[in-house]
């Protein structure tokens, strides 16, 4: 993309127009994305490294970091398998209700996360539809880790499936048919033929899914109950610190979250740079 903008083209806009467009885009990105990001780190470190360190090693902060990693560690692999299964079903088979499934996959993108959290409370909360039954069996979903995982999974469900569906549609079922005709079973088919063809798209989807899972606030906030040291994830912990006017600690934890996001972005860009051709072509060598 950068190449197309930089090199003069016979039908391209004039130099001034191009500079103006690029300038606007960069200025916009700078003001709304880059400056705030820098501000997070500046604010976090403004009282020195010692204060920063004690903020991120505070027991509640450590517990929030652990919980965030735990929730992402459960939700992402589950969504990985659901996403692959959904993409497989949609692209390799014809069945009734297929378009309904495709629409449902997109639902979390269009529904506000807060609503999804509320729905879970309505279903599984103490006053909810299944609340009495869960209570009778001593199962606590809401205001506990399972609820956090469920809410996170709901919000991040589309990432893997959305990444894979167009890729697998483009690849079709030719290679799978060839594998079947050569005697491959279902499992061999998946591991030896399908998975190698979608691996980069899959990794990309997982990275996006992970970034969102760690940063999710709305849905998680509703089902969490904000119990410090127990059900507080990093975004929730940041909010609490902020509401207590503990700005340095809030920004210190926020900076950790930002670093996680940056690592994800860098990994994604590295993948694009290294395997860009294969990603767009749809896997393979």
């Amino acid at each position: 993309m950068g190449e197309g903008l930089a090199s003069p083209r016979p039908l391209g806009e004039s130099r001034t127009t191009r500079l103006l467009l690029i300038g606007t885009a960069l200025a916009f990105l700078g003001i709304f994305l880059f400056v705030p990001l820098v501000a997070v780190f500046v604010e976090a470190l403004c009282r020195g490294v010692g204060v920063y360190w004690s903020a991120v090693t505070d027991p509640y902060a450590v517990s929030a970091i652990r919980l965030t990693l735990l929730v992402a560690g459960i939700a992402v692999p589950l969504n990985l398998s659901f996403g692959v299964a959904a993409a497989w079903a949609v692209t390799k088979f014809e069945f009734t209700g297929k378009s309904l499934l495709v629409t449902l996959i997109d639902l979390p993108f269009s529904v506000s996360p807060v609503i999804s959290g509320m729905v879970y409370i309505l279903l599984f909360g103490l006053q909810g539809w299944f609340g009495p039954w869960l209570l009778a069996h001593d199962i606590q979903l809401m205001f506990a880790v399972p609820g956090l995982v469920m809410a996170t999974m709901f919000v991040t469900f589309p990432f893997v499936a959305r990444e894979l569906i167009p890729l697998m549609q483009e690849q079709g079922t030719d290679e799978e048919e060839a594998a079947v005709s050569l005697g491959a079973g279902g499992f061999q088919l998946f591991w030896r033929v399908t998975l190698p063809n979608i691996r980069w798209g899959l990794l990309y989807g997982v990275l996006l899914c992970n970034a969102r899972a760690m940063g999710e606030f709305g849905a998680v906030s509703v089902v969490s109950g904000h119990i410090r040291g127990l059900t507080n994830t990093m975004p929730l912990h940041i909010e609490i610190l902020y509401n207590e006017y503990n700005l340095v600690a809030a920004f210190a934890v926020a900076s950790l979250l930002a670093v996680l996001a940056l690592i994800t972005l860098v990994a994604k860009s590295a993948l694009e740079w290294r395997y860009g051709g294969e990603l767009s072509r749809g896997g393979g060598s």
């Binding site: 048919e177 060839a178 005709s181 030896r192 190698p196 393979g284 060598s285």
Partner: protein, 350 residues
């Protein structure tokens, strides 16, 4: 290992893809399924392979009822039209795939697999490309890898779906002759699908001509070409003049011209007559049993000359060799005589 298919039918929604197909493929023969697109030939091939399922009918391969078996149990080699090579595997791994996915007790040792793959690479003359990926190969090379891959599992029968369809004309010709020679060496029962009549006539031992889910004719290339069973076969097999005629008293009339012909049609009424361009005889003058005609165009291609003649308002194509054309010494607009030999007449309903 023979294939016996009987009364196979297949429907896609309201579309009858195959209508009661019965067919026997003899052991060791190379059979062509020939027909236009939509004739059901690929569907039939896929049913033989177990990649599609018949609604009704039965299928025996090597004397064993096969319709209920999975592709894996059928041991059928399938070559796809667009090769369908595994893009993330080298040529070697593509060919080895069918052996590597076998259950542990049936799987040859690593060394045995490697030996088999190298034998096959040698057979398809691609030994030096073993480490290449499909994307690095030409179309003809990919098709040869696909063939080696299908042969690796030592199939009882080999099925090929438009094996040369995606290749350019020159490679296509080379590869089909090569396939014929390969078949003569290996004698594996093979069925290939094609819409190219020239390909079927040149390569196959026997041809099955299909149209709209039915078999029109089964026979050797000579039988099918010389004595087409239906108007469809005549039309499809090649470049014939198609004339709408009227049959009365065992003679076909083409708007005033009586064609004195060996007619296989007793019933009077409207009919369709076919005559191949090389069976049309041209005379410098209107000789006995000839009809008057006017030359509309002459195109000389290589060793033959193609005439377009106006016979009483009907355009008839004639092909004569170049020497003869020179002898005739005709130019566009000249009057000449024309005689139709080897005409076949089919009633309109067939």
């Amino acid at each position: 290992m023979s294939i016996v298919a009987s009364r196979i039918a297949k429907r896609f929604g309201s579309y009858q893809a195959l209508d009661n197909i019965s067919l026997t493929v003899h052991s060791g023969e190379l059979l062509a399924l020939l027909g236009p697109s939509g004739s059901g030939k690929t569907t039939l091939l896929r049913i033989l392979a177990g990649l599609d399922f018949a609604d009704t009918g039965s299928l025996e391969i090597d004397g064993r009822e096969t319709l209920g078996l999975s592709p894996r149990e059928r041991q059928v080699g399938f070559v796809f039209q667009h090769y369908s090579l595994f893009r993330h595997m080298t040529v070697f791994d593509n060919i080895a795939f069918g052996l590597q996915v076998r259950a542990r007790r049936d799987r040859p040792s690593k060394a045995a697999i490697a030996e088999r793959v190298h034998q096959l690479l040698d057979l398809v003359q691609m030994e030096w490309l073993a480490d290449h990926y499909p994307a690095q190969l030409s179309g003809g090379q990919r098709q040869r890898v696909a063939l080696a891959r299908a042969l690796a599992i030592e199939p009882k029968v080999l099925l090929l779906d438009e094996p040369f369809g995606a290749l350019d004309a020159k490679v296509r010709k080379e590869l089909r002759r090569w396939l014929r020679r390969l078949h003569d060496e290996m004698h594996i029962t093979s069925v290939f699908v094609t819409h190219d009549q020239e390909e079927a006539l040149e390569v196959a031992d026997r041809i099955v001509v299909m149209s709209q889910g039915r078999i029109e004719q089964v026979g050797t290339p000579t039988e099918v070409y010389d004595t087409p069973a239906t108007a469809f076969v005549f039309d499809f097999l090649g470049n014939a003049n198609r004339l709408e005629v009227e049959v009365t008293d065992g003679r076909a009339h083409l708007s005033g011209l009586a064609l004195d012909l060996p007619i296989r049609l007793a019933a009077s009424g409207p009919a369709i007559a076919f005559v191949r361009p090389q069976d049309v005889d041209i005379g410098k003058t209107v000789e006995a049993t000839m009809a008057p005609a006017v030359v509309r165009s002459i195109v000389t291609i290589g060793p033959t000359a193609r005439f377009e003649l106006d016979v009483g308002g009907h355009l008839i194509e004639a092909v004569v060799d170049r020497e003869r054309s020179r002898g005739l010494d005709l130019a566009v607009g000249d009057h000449c005589g024309v005689r139709l030999g080897q005409v076949q007449v089919f009633s309109r309903s067939s």
